[in-house]
Symmetry: C2
Subunit: 142 residues, 2 copies
DNA sequence: TTTATTTTTGTAATCGTTTCATTTTTATTT
DNA sequence: AAATAAAAATGAAACGATTACAAAAATAAA
């Protein structure tokens, strides 16, 4: 995973037919560079100072725009918030029921190998969500 | 999968330390027997006549009780509603983006075989959610 | 500049779910 | 059986993350 420059991120937006406004580029950069699967609120709080003005509605609108364009993933991992993931490559998500952190997990094969009858259903998206204790919380017993 | 009698369902509740009131048994029977992954609202509408009186709060409370007891599954498959599944055995869920129906899919192996690093994380629950077109909607192109 | 289009913004609304206090039902004790 | 205690059901109200909406600001086109 190579680090992307701001110019490259801008190109990705334009290639997707999305005009890279200041807000849009900042939001895209934040989500693409983050590994913490931030919520809209987190994105908003992280960028409002840097941008001077920013509205939570813009954050939601923009994240939806990117999701529909296939640039990012929207995760619904059942903690009451939508989370956003700038990494669209195949991987699973683990949420720690103790600390709430969401971790990426490498999967061993494509999802089409996981279940039967793949021919009958036309699968466009697959999400594997795992729950339990992360290594840190497991050892601390908290 | 053998059909369960009402007496057997009652025993399952009692074995879980749950007192089988009229409402509880009716809700449990409905969810255990259904293959449609109903929402709380669906359960409520299906049983309110039969029971004479029933409140939506009771349905929510009871379904939460069963989920915490491990008797049923709560599915958060990202359509704005929580769905409930009386089948707790290992299987994946497919939601059709056209008709909204949720289908069960048999999986080829235990989830622990799907991802790397299973030793580091203590996994207590796994859900594989798939999205796309179901066979019917696929053929009808609607 | 004028005009049209796109994007951002703040407020208000949405609505599935939860909280809470009260009532009803069920179990236990006297 | 009556009295008491405990559990469950109920309806109304609250919650809160997300979305809808209309106005304002920014950008592009003429």
């Amino acid at each position: 995973m190579k680090k992307l420059t701001r110019a490259e991120l801008k190109s990705e937006l334009m290639n997707a037919g999305i005009r890279p406004s200041v807000q849009r580029l900042a939001i895209y950069e934040f989500v693409r560079m983050s590994k913490a699967h931030p919520t809209a609120e987190v994105v908003y709080e992280a960028l409002r100072e840097e941008l001077g003005s920013l509205s939570l509605t813009t954050v939601y609108n923009t994240l939806k725009l990117y999701t529909d364009a296939g640039l990012i993933l929207t995760l619904n991992i059942d903690d009451g918030f939508l989370h956003y993931d700038g990494d669209t490559s195949l991987h699973a998500h683990f949420r720690c029921s103790s600390c709430g952190a969401i971790h990426d997990l490498a999967v061993k094969s494509d999802y089409s190998n996981w279940f039967e009858g793949s021919g009958d259903f036309s699968v466009t998206e697959a999400q594997l969500y795992l729950k339990g204790l992360c290594p840190k919380c497991k050892s601390c017993k908290n």
